[in-house]
């Protein structure tokens, strides 16, 4: 099995950037989940005595407050929780769709594969971001729809990779030998195709999480994504960008957290790719 074996784990551990990214990510995720118990301030409470206060550890608001006196530490953690959640859910959606689509195309081959590949090609040739914007507007600013439309964009790359891998595995001689010796299709898929797919799929699924988080915050920044009273990092950044001159921390806090989160996810994904020796296509 070419999956996450010992050698790969050792290579991953010897990559300081990836290790740092992993710990930073875990810390950030734990903070986002446990945040509500760490700080007495609630997310929605409006502290009219401390409107737009600067960050400081002495005061009640560690990361300062926004224009309405809401605690930025709490809001940023809540935003991170939403962003991470959307990222994970949409990644799973795109993983499932991409994996099934790609595996069927690659395993069936022939005309079905040709047709499915053409579909991927046409879809990825279109400016999908604009369609997502149009879709989001058409069906209203619905947060569930957000997952779907983001997943709809994300699965194309995964499908392409899975198809290519499946096709190349299927053409290998040992699979032909297995077919010749009468092994059933399901047995071949379970025994040979899936184990060979695990590496690239893990890598691309990991690398798709930051892309999806980025995309979600982009939509939220434009006002098309997560809606008030909920906040994702994108909406917080949009708010902060408006207050940049008078209260820069309203921008800097969520912006810094988003940047750190995306950087860590990318570094970890890159490290995983190198460790599992998956070719960048």
């Amino acid at each position: 099995m070419s999956g996450l074996n010992k050698a790969a784990a050792r290579r991953l551990r010897s990559n300081p950037a990836a290790v740092f990214a992993l710990y930073a990510m875990l810390a950030l995720a734990a903070l986002a989940l446990l945040g509500p118990w760490l700080n007495p301030n609630s997310i929605e409470a409006l502290d009219w005595l401390h409107v737009a206060t600067r960050p400081g550890l002495q005061g009640a608001h560690w990361f300062g407050t926004d224009r309405l006196g809401r605690d930025l530490f709490m809001r940023t953690l809540a935003g991170a929780r939403v962003s991470i959640g959307v990222g994970l859910v949409a990644s799973v959606v795109s993983l499932v769709v991409g994996l099934s689509f790609g595996a069927i195309a690659g395993y069936r081959g022939g005309r079905i594969d040709h047709l499915m590949l053409r579909m991927i090609e046409i879809l990825s040739g279109l400016p999908l971001i604009f369609f997502v914007i149009v879709l989001t507007v058409v069906f209203g600013r619905n947060e569930y729809l957000l997952f779907v439309s983001i997943g709809a964009v994300g699965w194309l790359t995964m499908a392409r990779i899975v198809r290519g891998q499946t096709l190349s595995i299927r053409r290998r001689e040992y699979i032909e030998a297995a077919v010749a010796s009468g092994a059933s299709a399901s047995r071949i898929i379970v025994k040979h195709v899936i184990p060979n797919l695990i590496g690239p799929v893990i890598v691309y699924a990991t690398l798709s999480v930051p892309q999806i988080i980025l995309f979600e915050s982009f939509l939220s920044f434009l006002g098309l994504g997560v809606q008030e009273p909920h906040a994702s990092l994108g909406t917080l950044i949009a708010e902060g960008a408006g207050e940049m001159e008078s209260a820069p921390w309203i921008l800097l806090v969520p912006g810094g957290v988003l940047a750190l989160l995306l950087l860590c996810l990318n570094l970890f994904g890159d490290g995983l790719r190198d460790a599992l020796d998956v070719k960048e296509s």
């Binding site: 046409i122 400016p127 149009v134 507007v137 982009f218 434009l222 940049m244 820069p248 950087l263």
Partner: protein, 306 residues
Amino acid sequence: MFRYFLSRLTGAIPTLFIIVTATFFLMRAAPGGPFDQEQALPPEIMANLESAYGLDRPIWTQFGRYLGALAHGDFGPSFKYKDFTVTELIRQGFPVTLELGLIALSLALSIGIPAGIFAALHHNSAADYATMSLAVLGLAIPTFVVLPFLGLLFGIYLHWLPIAGWEPGSIRHLALPTVALALPPLAYIARLTRGSMLEVLRSEFIRTAFAKGLPLRTVILRHALRPALVPVASYLVPAVASIMTGSLVVESIAGLPGIGRYLVQGALNRDYTLVLGMVIIYSTLLIGMGLLVDLLYAWLDPRVRP
């Protein structure tokens, strides 16, 4: 070559048609219309408005009329900006968006490619790691975080550059938006160039070039660069798409009078013709870039010449 190009050009028309059709009907399927307001208009005014814009006709008639006008280069009237046609709106804003995008793309290419070559030539050295770490940073941090950060640093603290606004012909106003817009594709191009350069440098014809006694400069520029640029050429269409996407937020943050805002605004306002016009403009740009890339492939690698 010319005939090949012509056939690709005609092949692009069905793609564009599919995009226009899909957008047209998707928009119409959406609940609500362009004249919905907080307080509903009296029915007779509504009917007047709808008949004035032809919205009372059967949808296929509307679609046919739209296509007919489009064939003459007429995008139709805007439903929301009532004194303007879509063509006028685009004509006003497009030069700004185009200038922004072109500068960003040139920046990404003219810095990304040399950075990638530099890293490849210093493979596994501190310089290589430094360049690639910067690239990960550029790739990871979103445009709408970078631009406000840059504005804060260069505009508010250092007072070097304006953080927002627009004056015709002013490069200073475009400096921060273009840099923010260029960073992600720049970083990606640097990574691509480094990877493919390393691969090309290992190939046998590069060994031949060194055996011929050519100076390093010539080996890199004449023998290695063109084959190494093939993956960069493949990335050009996604790069343009990424710059277009980025320009939506960059224009709004920096207050540039481009066409970026019309897409989101138009969609929210159910301004059918405006959204269609925008989608057509952007799709045409992307398809055109795709054609350009095909020509580029032929120059980079004579084996793919038809």
